[in-house]
């Protein structure tokens, strides 16, 4: 069975959408659901699903794009690191166009002679370190629970090899604490931009299949238990998403919010304990800044002391600089579901994919970029 095609099957998706519509009419109220995964964002727009959703189902695109939530102070540090003599930056591709507060990106640093190499896996970065013993390779550790285990694995490999010219700048973010913050718990969000976010109404969550693959369901259960909000782990094909939305509406009708696994062909309810063990071995949980959301306690990963030799923060004595909020930028409100990208006064004017002001416009997976690229003006 060819999964990639069958879950796109037009006839099946249309039938599912019709059922979803009927179910929603039965419920009789609007449902605002939020996804928190860039792959969901892209899939919903790219498949055209967004244009087919029943009008009572409102899609909100939350903080699921790892590039977008990487804080501007971290991005500024990427560039400082890249400009150091003898440093090679190894990075996932979509970080290299992200602008720092001064508007410069790794692309600009590269044009000024910095050595920046795109890699597909942190192990590629180790290879670069092996091939360039005279240079120091710094891997930019960005992403959620999904990418972090592979990076932890690379650190363990580097330690085993005794590689002394390889380090990781860990900017990892954790999804469940961000969801906590989004649900408006006053003790979780600290800065002012986040405060306004707490008033957004989110009726249900489409949980990220990739992250759940590692974490399982347990870390998400608070969503239903504490906030009485249905949440379903969803796959990424259109049929997966429609099915998950159907399950959300069913839960709403039944009035019993639950956290359920709608992606059983990939996700085990218990997640991947081996991946979590390796995460725990290398990283400890720390407070961290999210671009657009501010400081969220216990939502980041720091490299443990025993791996300090491979921690770029230690090696280069990195102190994140204070950055000013971007004037006029409403990314915090977009990420927390308060407004649509097009309601931001900068959207499409001062802030475009060519010249992004805010974080949500910087990556193709960002809410604003997806809106700009896929939605635009076709709805005539």
């Amino acid at each position: 069975m060819d999964f990639s095609h069958s879950f796109h099957d037009a006839a099946m998706c249309k039938a599912l959408l019709a059922k979803l519509d009927m179910q929603l009419q039965k419920y009789g109220k609007e449902i605002r659901f939020m996804e928190v995964c860039g792959t969901h964002t892209v899939s919903i727009f790219q498949s055209g699903l967004r244009s087919l959703l029943p009008s009572g189902l409102i899609h909100l695109s939350g903080p699921g794009c790892p590039v977008c939530v990487t804080h501007d102070a971290e991005v500024a540090t990427f560039i400082q690191l890249a400009e150091k003599e003898n440093v090679i930056i190894a990075t996932f591709g979509d970080l290299i166009r992200v602008p720092a507060p001064d508007g410069r990106s790794l692309k600009h640093a590269q044009a000024n002679g910095a050595r920046v190499q795109i890699v597909y896996s942190p192990l590629d970065a180790i290879q670069i370190a092996k091939e360039n013993p005279q240079s120091d390779v710094v891997f930019l550790g960005v992403g959620f629970e999904t990418t972090a285990p592979a990076i932890a694995g690379a650190l363990l490999t580097a330690k085993k090899m005794g590689l002394n010219n390889f380090s990781v700048f860990s900017c990892h973010k954790l999804v469940p604490p961000a969801l906590h913050a989004l649900m408006g718990s006053s003790d979780t969000l600290i800065d002012s931009s986040a405060e306004s976010a707490s008033s957004a109404r989110i009726d249900a969550f489409l949980l990220p299949g990739h992250v759940a693959l590692i974490l399982g369901l347990e870390p998400f259960k608070f969503i239903a238990e504490k906030y009485k909000c249905p949440a379903i782990v969803a796959g990424f094909e259109p049929a997966d998403i429609i099915h998950a939305l159907y399950s959300i509406v069913e839960q709403k009708i039944a009035g019993v919010p639950e956290v359920v696994n709608g992606y059983k062909r990939a996700v085990d309810d218990a997640g991947n304990p081996a991946a979590r063990a390796i995460l725990d071995k290398v990283f400890s949980v720390c407070d961290t800044q999210w671009r657009g959301l501010g400081l969220i306690p216990q939502s980041g990963l720091a490299i443990r002391g025993e791996f300090a030799d491979f921690d770029a923060k230690v090696r280069y004595d990195i102190q994140l600089v204070e950055t000013k909020p971007l004037p006029g930028c409403k990314c915090g409100d977009v990420l927390s579901g308060k407004i649509n990208p097009s309601e931001c006064p900068l959207f499409g004017k001062r802030c475009t994919p060519q010249n992004p002001t805010g974080p949500c416009m910087v990556s193709t997976e960002g809410s604003c970029a997806a809106w700009y690229n896929y939605q635009g003006i076709i709805l005539d």
Binding site: G48, P66, N340, P353, Y372, G376, I377
Partner: protein, 352 residues
């Protein structure tokens, strides 16, 4: 043997390089005269195009920098509804380049030339110090005779797409872009793919002579089909609508691109053409394309319509940021609609 700086000095070493490699393989009577310029006899209006080629790696499944330098310029000239005749060719070579590598590239250029029926009639070689270029850069400029158009709009042009036209694509998308990316980065999960690098001038000549009413011809190279159609939509002030279920993509290209978070619509092609014709010419044009091995998978992928009257308002009246004068819309497999915008730069693989 390695190339020395001397080979670009204009002295005997230069002459040896030119005679032993370039004249030997590009052999033709015009080049053999070795004058400062080539003497050409042409009677019709002329189409001219130039392009510089840099690619890493130099060799990849389905082609190399040399085949690209021939096919790319031949195709660009042909897209104007012209019969490409002559190319110029300038090499910038890095000191230390293996001569065997250079000769291998020149040999494959030579066979690409004879297949296209085109001659290299003048050339230039520079050798630069190590590090000043990446092994080999090639520039080719091509000229060709315009085939007298029978279409009232004149020769094919990006400005000529009209409401009611259909959009034809000569074959699968993204083969070249993904092949080069996989070869450059040793992507082991991408297998069994090859560049589609090929010259399309013979197919175009038949289209021009037999169909005649060809509104637009374009080769969707860098930026892929989506970018090229955006250019056409803007130039012609129209909307192009594509149907996802008709888009030809090879299964392994689809799978490889999907893993990297890339969309084949934005990946480069080097042996494909987009042909926009009035609907009543569709069948004839498709038959001609399919009769050619390089167009055997040709299909109609979409249609041209007028732009919606209100271009700046969306459903909710919000600011959309799109002030363009053309647009490309994709009707997805599920029957949904979305925009196909132009990308800012090269597609980048995603984090997860």
């Amino acid at each position: 043997m390695k190339l020395l700086l001397d080979a670009g000095s204009g002295g005997r070493a230069s002459m040896r390089l030119i005679n032993d490699i370039f004249v030997k393989h590009f052999d033709n009577d015009i080049l053999a005269k070795m004058d400062d310029a080539a003497l050409l006899h042409m009677s019709s209006p002329i189409a001219m195009s130039t392009d510089s080629y840099t690619v890493s790696p130099l060799f990849f499944p389905g082609g190399d920098i040399g085949t690209l330098a021939v096919h790319g310029t031949v195709n660009d000239v042909a897209m104007l509804g012209a019969r490409p005749k002559y190319l110029s060719c300038a090499f910038i070579l890095e000191e230390g380049l293996e001569l065997e590598v250079l000769e291998k590239i020149v040999i494959s250029m030579s066979s690409a030339l004879s297949e296209a029926g085109v001659k290299i009639v003048t050339g230039d070689t520079k050798v630069v110090p190590k590090g000043a270029c990446d092994q080999i850069f090639i520039n080719t400029t091509g000229i060709g005779e315009i085939i007298p158009p029978t279409c009232s709009l004149g020769s094919p042009s990006g400005h000529n797409a009209k409401e009611g036209d259909v959009i034809l694509l000569s074959g699968s998308m993204g083969d070249h872009g993904l092949t080069v990316m996989a070869a450059r980065d040793n992507l082991s999960f991408v297998s069994d793919i090859a560049s589609d690098s090929a010259s399309l001038n013979h197919m175009i000549e038949r289209l021009m002579l037999e169909v005649g009413d060809i509104h637009v011809l374009r080769d969707p190279t860098r930026g892929g089909v989506a970018t090229t159609l955006n250019e056409i939509a803007e130039q012609s002030c129209v909307r192009c609508t594509l149907f996802e279920d008709r888009l030809p993509v090879k299964e392994n290209v689809r799978a490889g691109a999907s893993l990297l978070g890339l969309d084949p619509l934005y990946l480069a092609n080097e042996g494909k053409l987009l042909c926009i014709v009035p609907k009543d010419k569709m069948q004839q044009a498709l038959e001609i394309m399919r009769a050619d091995e390089k167009g055997k998978d040709a299909v109609c992928i979409g249609e041209v319509s007028a732009l919606p009257s209100s271009k700046t308002d969306n459903q909710s009246g919000n600011n959309t940021g799109h002030e363009k004068t053309g647009q490309v819309v994709l009707v997805t497999l599920m029957g949904g609609k979305r925009l196909l915008n132009m990308l800012e730069g090269a597609p980048l693989p995603r984090i997860c």
